[in-house]
Amino acid sequence: MRTFFYFVLFMIIAVGVIFLAAVLGARGAWYFAWLVGTAMIVLISAAGGALLDTQEEHAIERAAAERDRS
């Protein structure tokens, strides 16, 4: 049931985004670009933070493996 509610919620958001894109795309292309661009900048920045965690975890694993070998 919970999954169904999430499905409905995300469908509403998706339809809202399509509507917004259609309206803003025609009348306010720069506003639309701002929405899309801001989301992209925020998500790439967030992904960069998560990537750093992964890099550090791999570095720790590599250091541990080298210690084991030696």
Binding site: R27, G28, A29, W30, Y31, A33, W34, G37, T38, M40, I41, V42, L43, I44, S45, A46, A47, G48, G49, A50, L51, L52, D53, Q55, E56, E57, A59, I60
Partner: protein
């Protein structure tokens, strides 16, 4: 009634100085709120407590900046009424709506959610708090949107028409006001310039911690996120600046001529004045260094495009002034006799040049006796202060390119996870902190000085927009504002430096003091585990 020229100048200095002070705070809020949203998004998706500490720390700095931004912004809205009363009466019907919506956004949406964001860490679930942080980011940027919609009406009046019976501008289309091309490109350019400002600020403060070997894990992550945020935002801000220039080329040719110091029209392809010392009196550039073909390419995106020079624009202004004089004369008749059909027909025939009729009234209060010399003098007024606009534009662009170069280097090293070992880059990052603030101020000077001699471009000249105060009143209030705002800046600097020196440890980092939750308001989220080696949540 003629307004004293000194009063107009003092009113302009007062508004410009308060706007420049205010604009030191605004861009940081615009950008830091979204950077904070990015940090908290990582916290909610990964559950790693270090990101919560990052969000709390940068959130505190955002709060300090936000509070002073609101305090400095309040007085500006009052100045429209106190110092620019003719302007407010003339365009208040249009200008008032976006300002009112901005007030609602800033003081209801943004302020409410920023309170929840700051004090809701122990009271809201992770998801709820993240939603609040995103709403703060959208609230602050939407608040800026409405100010820029209002400002863009002044740059490129869309969606309004002058009514000769009410003697003021009236709104004809709210949609045209919001979707004004100048509003769109200016909002996106300004908002994203705020992202760049926040990215440099966060990178610089993080570099300071890494140089001192304090909070290194937190600083490395903050730096990484800020560098990626900043490089994308800087690319965007440069692209959007080009778009804004493209819009200005069509709607504000005098601003463009001033930005590029083009005194004489030339055939395509036009050269670009890389460096020049424009002389307003002599209508020429001294010691110009020119790059062939570049101006046509930059401004029109073609080798066959041209930019009208001041000479052509002034010649056109003479014709517009000659057409605007009958419009003002008809308006005076309509003021006495609103039913005069002949005066209304005369006004409608010349209404598009009404502003130019006002422009010459500065030199010829009685338009029945206007001389060609007075018309020529008014026509020369259409050029903004060229040297100031020219150099402000170059400072903004040069600093924008410097920031792009900085972010590209910063991204290269942070993606290799070597940034904490590059002390030269860390030191450079600290020194870069003032750069976006200077670029923002320079950009604002280009926009506002370039609009002169108009408060509403082509419609209402600045000389007749001010209130009829005394010089003493204006001088006294100007000194008061400068002192007060300088105190605000000092308070901001003190609080920021103090919070940065205290560091995130004081806000929830392991080892720092953490106040226990109040029993009645126990947190719903499990207490964060200290992060160490693997930083797991």
């Amino acid at each position: 009634m003629m307004i004293n020229g000194t009063v107009v100048t003092l009113s302009r200095i007062q508004f410009a100085s308060t706007a420049l002070y205010h604009f030191l705070f605004v861009p940081l809020t615009l950008g830091l709120s979204f950077l904070l949203a990015a940090i908290e998004t990582v916290y909610v998706t990964t559950g790693k407590p270090i990101y919560k500490d990052m969000a709390r720390f940068w959130g505190k700095l955002l709060m300090i900046n936000f509070a002073l931004g609101v305090a400095t912004g309040l007085t500006m809205e009052f100045q429209f009424g106190t110092n620019w009363s003719f302007y407010s009466g003339f365009v208040g019907d249009i200008f008032g709506a976006p300002l009112a919506i901005e007030g609602l956004m800033a003081f209801f949406m943004e302020s409410t959610f920023i309170g929840l964001m700051m004090f809701g860490w122990e009271r809201l679930s992770r998801g709820q708090h993240l939603a609040v942080t995103w709403l703060v980011a959208f609230g602050s940027n939407l608040s800026a949107l409405w100010i820029l919609v209002a400002n863009s009406f002044m740059q490129n009046p869309h969606g309004a028409a002058f009514d000769p019976l009410t003697m003021r501008m009236q709104l004809t289309s709210f949609q045209q006001l919001i979707f004004n091309p100048d509003a769109q490109s200016k909002f996106v350019h300004t908002s994203v310039a705020g992202y760049v400002t926040a990215a440099i600020f966060v990178a610089g403060v993080s570099a300071y911690y890494m140089l001192r070997n304090r909070h290194v894990e937190l600083a490395k992550r903050s730096f990484r996120m800020a560098a990626l945020f900043g490089v994308l935002a800087t690319i965007a801000v440069i692209t959007l600046g080009d778009a804004l220039g493209f819009v200005d080329a069509r709607v504000q040719p005098t601003k463009l001529a001033a930005m590029e110091a083009v005194w004489q029209s030339e055939p395509a392809p036009m050269p670009f004045n890389l460096i020049a010392f424009p002389s307003q009196a002599r209508r020429e550039n001294l010691g110009a260094v020119r790059v062939p073909y570049l101006l046509s390419l930059l401004v029109t995106h073609s080798l066959s495009g041209t930019v009208p020079g001041a000479d052509a624009l002034e010649r056109r202004a003479v014709q517009q002034i000659e057409s605007g004089i009958p419009a003002v004369q008809a308006l005076k008749v309509l003021a006495r006799d609103p039913g005069n059909a002949a005066a209304l027909a005369e006004f409608n025939a010349h209404r598009k040049d009404l502003g130019y009729g006002f422009l010459v009234q500065r030199y010829a209060p009685d338009l029945n006796d206007v001389t060609p010399a007075q018309i020529d003098r008014a026509a020369r007024d259409i050029m903004p202060p060229v040297a100031a606009v020219f150099w402000s534009f170059r400072v903004m662009v040069a600093l924008g390119l410097l920031m792009l170069a900085y972010f590209v280097i910063a991204v290269l090293y942070t993606l290799r996870n070597k940034i904490h070992r590059k002390s030269w880059l860390l030191k450079m990052s600290v020194w870069m902190i003032p750069v976006p603030f200077i670029a923002n101020e320079a950009g604002w000077l280009v926009a506002e000085l370039g609009r002169q001699p108009w408060t509403v471009f082509d419609v209402l000249p600045t000389w007749m927009s001010a209130s009829t105060h005394s010089v003493a009143y204006m001088a006294f209030s100007l000194i008061g504002f400068l002192v007060l705002y300088t105190v605000f800046i000092a308070v901001e600097m003190y609080l920021m430096v103090r919070a940065i020196k205290l560091g995130p440890a004081a806000h929830g980092d392991p080892g720092g003091p953490r106040s226990p939750p109040r029993p009645a308001l126990a947190p719903r989220v499990a207490p964060a585990a200290p992060y160490g080696g693997k930083l797991e949540g």
